[in-house]
Assembly symmetry: C2
Homo-oligomer: 137 residues x 2
DNA sequence: CTACCTGCAAACAGTTTGCCGCCTG
DNA sequence: CAGGCGGCAAACTGTTTGCAGGTAG
């Protein structure tokens, strides 16, 4: 466990969810010379040994978190907000998939896409709202 | 509706699921001068008017398909295979999300990640199999 | 003539690779 | 001295942008 690797672990812990880029910035606050390449290589290693995990929140870069951070993520494809839900939400779906097609679901690896409560209201109230963004869809 | 646009529509129809790159290759078989930029711009337009839709199957490029192609996609993060399941699979989950958090789920927009039946068997049979690939996770 | 459409080149984000030098055992 | 580790530059994929010429109404 080299100093760089320890810093990456610390950064992941401190940031909660973070992209490799964000982790790099954070690490560089204490060790400016550290290269983004090292971040990627270290994250890959940390993931292989089970210390961290990553989740795809949508289009952009994946976010890394501690192994223990297990949630279902709900991203709003309208405003881009990310909500967390307990994993047991997917239990019955997972069971059904397993029974019907032998597919073992990894509920936390990719976020579910949809529209959050706030944006649903906005759509009702003012469909032509100028604050529209359309993050991904 | 310009010739280029028609070709893009035709390509999406013909290919079923395809990345912008694949669509471009296909279009260029009949119109070699067509640029990838045009593919992107056309797909964006076709999506806005509701002729096509796109789905994130994982890490890489999104895949475009006809609007009518509505399935839940199951990607195996081990072998990379993509299976299709009926959308009603997610109905009870969608209902629960709507009731509990006001989140309107778009079940078809992002693929569910997990391990397919074949790869689950492989893991049992031979965990150190040299054909291992680890597509994403 | 005006507006839209297209092609091309360039830029951009995110990620990976090759190489080389360094440090440690 | 051998192997792992890390820094740097370069390549690569996927995507977007600015610009300029062309074409149709």
């Amino acid at each position: 466990m080299t100093p760089q690797r320890q810093l990456v672990v610390d950064a992941v812990r401190a940031l909660g969810h973070a992209t490799p880029e964000q982790i790099c910035t954070r690490v560089q606050e204490t060790a400016p010379a550290v290269n983004i390449t090292t971040i990627y290589r270290t994250l890959e290693l940390l993931e292989r040994i089970g210390l961290v995990r990553h989740t795809h929140l949508g289009h952009g870069a994946p976010t890394y978190s501690e192994q223990e951070h297990q949630h279902v993520h709900l991203v709003c494809h309208h405003c881009g907000s990310v909500a967390e839900a307990p994993t047991d939400l997917m239990d019955q779906l997972a069971a059904r998939l397993r029974d019907e097609s032998g597919f073992t679901l990894d509920a936390t690896h990719v976020a579910l896409s949809g529209r959050c409560a706030d944006c649903a209201e906005d759509a009702d109230a003012d469909p032509t709202d100028s604050t529209e963004q359309e993050t991904d869809r």
